[in-house]
Amino acid sequence: MEDFNSETDSDYTSYWRDWFISSRGNEYFCEIDEDYLTDRFNLTGLNTEVAYYQYALDLVTDVFDLDADDDLREQIEKSARHLYGLVHARYIVTTRGLAKMVDKLKRGDFGKCPRVMCEGHPLLPMGQHDTPSMSTVRLYCARCEDIYHPKSSRHASIDGAYFGTSFHSMLFQVYPALMPEKSIRRYEPRVFGFKVHASAALARWQDQYREDMKTSLRDVGVEVKYIEDESEDDLEDDDEPLSDAREEKVIGDAASARMDLGN
């Protein structure tokens, strides 16, 4: 995979794409290869989607030489950004594109999960729709498997279709090692130190749901592991410190891993 790490892999300097990638608010995008952009097969169907398609493509590939007034130029510029986004959604599910996005993920370019229990797990950009102008970009956390709004308003206007619905799942299919360990820790609302009944009852129900899922998956031969399970296995040898350690853990992080016990 090291071969794909370089940001530009052609001698040709791409002014427009360089500018686009480095401009503020476009931090989520990676640079699309020249080769990929010039292969017409990869652009199938986009000519109906993008206005001034040919001019926009010329602009993205830096061969644009049209004397146009400012109005038209602005239109073409807008189309070029749209085109780039749509090609981007296709590009990032290819091997090269995935490798570039993994680099960006490791650099934390997409931000961290806002959920406290995820402890700042790096996020991935995604869209809820593959058709443009349906919804803006969302961020997926692989640890809690939920999606969040970007915290910065400059990212809030990016079209979700520029990343697509499949990208993040594809990434974990190709790089299963990047899949984080899941945790069963949760926030436990308390009032004056006492658990709140409604929340605790829901938590117990959810824990039951999780156990049922584990059981049914075990029946078909799939072992589901959470971080907490492994730490329990390590401690299984002796009884006395075991219960102490658990008691501490429950009090310590105020997020009981054992709420299905009905206490």
Binding site: Q128, E145, D146, Y148, K151, H197, A198, L202
Partner: protein, 361 residues
Amino acid sequence: MSSSEGAPESWISSFCSLMGHEFFAEVSEDFIEDDFNLTGLQSQVPMYKEALEMILDVEPEEDDEEEEEEEEDEDDDEIIGDDKPPGYRRAGERRHARVASDLSVIESSAELLYGLIHQRYITSRPGIQQMLEKYEMQHFGVCPRVYCNGCRVLPVGRSDTPGQETVKLFCPSCQDLYTPPNSRFHSVDGAFFGTTFGCLFFMTFPDLDIGSRMDNSLSALSPTRSSSLTSSSINNQVSPDVPPPNQPVEINGMRTVNFSPGLGPGRIYESRIYGFRVSERSRSGPRMKWLRMKPIDIRELDEMSRYEALHGEGDDDGDTEMGSGNGTAAQNAAIARRKKATMRRRRYNPDQMSINGAEAG
């Protein structure tokens, strides 16, 4: 010094208008002046008396420029009555020294003290009312989770002891905790809001509409939401199954409509590749659905009546006494829940039962 002279603003309102202090309510002076509300804080805050004076903008005594060489302990400042003139002079000297070096110490003490008073104040009747106004004006922001649809959040702490964790945001829609998006809140102590406030707030105002914005934005997202099951299966999202009729108005002391409206089927994200769901059997398949799950029939959460339905009314003597009977009742309930699950699970966690006993007893 600027707190009393020059600026007409009180210390409290200038503190609350500082950058990053937008979450704080202005504690009323009546609340601070009531000694009962300050019980125990003296031992937690260094230079307590000076800090309290600073918060209340009280000048202890008149400034006296006369130099005194007597070195006195803090406790001696309490002396009143018989040796008043030295007391005056000592106070003057103290203020003089404060300008030089102690001011920053007292300032930080005052902030700590104010935070701890604030933690108590916002659980009081006037305080929680003040926070309600701030909440309704969306001063604390909204939940970043997509399926919470911009539900307003509340600042809470994960600890009541200062200096442990910074302030977090509690979302009533998904009952989860989030880090404030703006980094200027990453230095605000969570203990200044406390662990109790978040839930107590929503218990105090049970009719507060949590999911109000949800419906209009969600219907825009999935127009076939209200349609029948057959047509919604084509939909991108899993349509929420229609809950059975006669849902209770309240469940476990909460309004059913306000009980975590951001959770449950239809509000859980499902990974898809080219439109196909990622299977649970896949190595990278979904594992965290439980976290955002909620029963379609909310009555499933009424554990008491479910237990009674399972066992009949005959043997539920556990709730008559609180002491030893409580432990067995809890154990019985745990066993009853366990009966539903397969025996296999117990084999995988062979220590489950012993822990159960240890925790209940």
